[in-house]
Assembly symmetry: C2
Homo-oligomer: 301 residues x 2
């Protein structure tokens, strides 16, 4: 979450306070609940998870949008959402501020954040030279605004069931290049809870097909939802348009990537090393302490 | 320009007043000069042109960004910018609110707005059903925000000379499809001032090549611009990355279009008809009355 929405008089406020104030100012009818915490600590992890839960221990939200700026926080969101069977959308902007991405993570159905190393859109700038210690990362409100817009547009499509929800969408501003792809779950994902969710998803495949068929029959039998239609609103049928050359359905398993995308880490070394480390820790499901140990190992590597 | 930035307390203000107030609130150090007028009237045309001019009759601005919502206003901006040798960027969102585009217009160098009929990105929705009289056009802040972001990103690239300035970029939200192309000037453009600018541009080609070569030599001879570098800022060389499949350099003359794009009007009838009408009016350069006559003819067609 960038600080681009801050106004001078909000100087000194936290990002969450300032965001809540600005959003209330735009639409006072929306209920906002700001939480301010470091979710990568033990207490933060539990507080974050509780904030998403009903009293029955299930998720109380429709979708989680991630706008964090570091790997550990993303891994924490990934773990909480795996535990709660909660779909979430990841977003990010590169340190050189000229590229970014959004990604849908649906436990068991798509790759989780641990399934594949983070992808970055090739921006034409060598990122290593920008990641030197003591040198501040760049920030462009345009890139931030575009990535946020794409994230919320995908959210609307996901929640309101229109258009194609894009599983991964990259953005490289220097070339105006927007790669898309689907990322399947990794059957050897280092996160054991992800493997469990993958099995659950596969087991539910037949049920979902049956339910979808029944739903279609019920809808045909029902009349229109609204008998009165004061504003003359009609549903317009969508024509199927031909798939364009830029819309390639790329399915990714580590080591096969569409042009213009690369892994943030070197696959050959760091990704393999992470797998070994994670296996050495042998985390049990929902074990917070183990997760934290893993995160510490990762951040010190 | 969408009304998405309006806050409840700004109810009753004009869009320009509200925009100026909001922008000042975000950054009080930026000087803003709001003008509120209908630029498609005779007086509005002159007032708009004057607002862009220095006392010597030349343009005083670096770039004009168009955020208008109708054809007549775009044709007016096109005419004023052709008269002032002024580059501008056009932007728009479709009436179904799920697609949009940005376009760079540099007099003589690229197509002017009259060179080719307006392009729309195929959205998969039949627009005719949404353009019925009395039915309000849809508006999605996400689409508006993304198109505005892409417009300003292209502006930064254009003014600050980094990356590739995209001449035409479409956006279809339903498929996350982003077609790009270059649109060359139409040698039989119905606007005679555009034809004049095209000739001037071609005549200046050799001079520009010489000037660029001299400039390159001068730069080599100069030392660094800033002797001191307190923040350790370095220019990072850009690696050339391979052209992606989504980045096709399409050069358009009427009747050849990349996949997923279509003309807003039927080329075979309306576009030809417009040419004939414009020729019948025989407008002379800079003739405001003739332009207005053309616009009236167009809007009644």
């Amino acid at each position: 979450m960038n600080r681009l929405f801050f106004r001078p008089e909000q100087c000194g406020m936290t990002k969450t306070e300032a965001a809540a104030q600005t959003l209330s100012g735009i639409n006072p009818d929306v209920q906002l609940e700001p939480f301010t915490m470091n979710i990568t600590t033990l207490n933060g992890f539990e507080a974050f998870k509780s904030s998403l839960m009903n009293e029955d221990g299930r998720s109380r939200v429709d979708l989680v949008l991630s706008c964090v700026d570091n790997y550990e926080a993303r891994m924490t969101i990934n773990q909480v959402c795996l535990e709660l069977h909660q779909a979430w959308m990841e977003s990010g902007v590169s340190e050189d501020a000229v590229s970014g991405h959004i990604q849908v993570v649906a436990p068991g159905e798509t790759a989780c954040f641990a399934c594949v190393p983070p992808l970055v859109v090739a921006s034409g700038i060598d990122e290593r030279t920008l990641k030197r210690e003591g040198v501040c990362a760049a920030s462009l409100p345009t890139t931030m605004g575009i990535v946020a817009g794409l994230l919320v547009q995908n959210t609307l499509k996901y929640l309101l069931h229109f258009g194609q929800v894009t599983h991964y969408l990259g953005y490289s501003s220097l070339q105006d290049f927007f790669p898309t792809m689907n990322i399947k779950p990794n059957p050897s994902c280092p996160n054991p809870l992800c493997l469990k969710r993958q099995k659950e998803w596969l087991a539910g495949e037949n049920e979902r097909i049956l339910a979808a068929a029944e739903n279609a029959i019920e809808k045909e039998e029902d009349g229109p939802v609204h008998a009165e239609n004061e504003w003359g609103i009609e549903v317009v049928t969508e024509e199927s348009i031909e798939q364009s050359s830029s819309r390639e359905e790329n399915t990714v398993v580590p080591s096969t990537l569409p042009e213009g995308l690369k892994f943030e880490h070197d696959i050959g070394t760091e990704y393999d090393a992470r797998e070994i480390k994670d296996q050495a820790v042998k985390p049990s499901d929902d074990a917070v302490e183990d997760l934290l140990l893993q995160l510490q190992n990762l951040s010190s590597s």
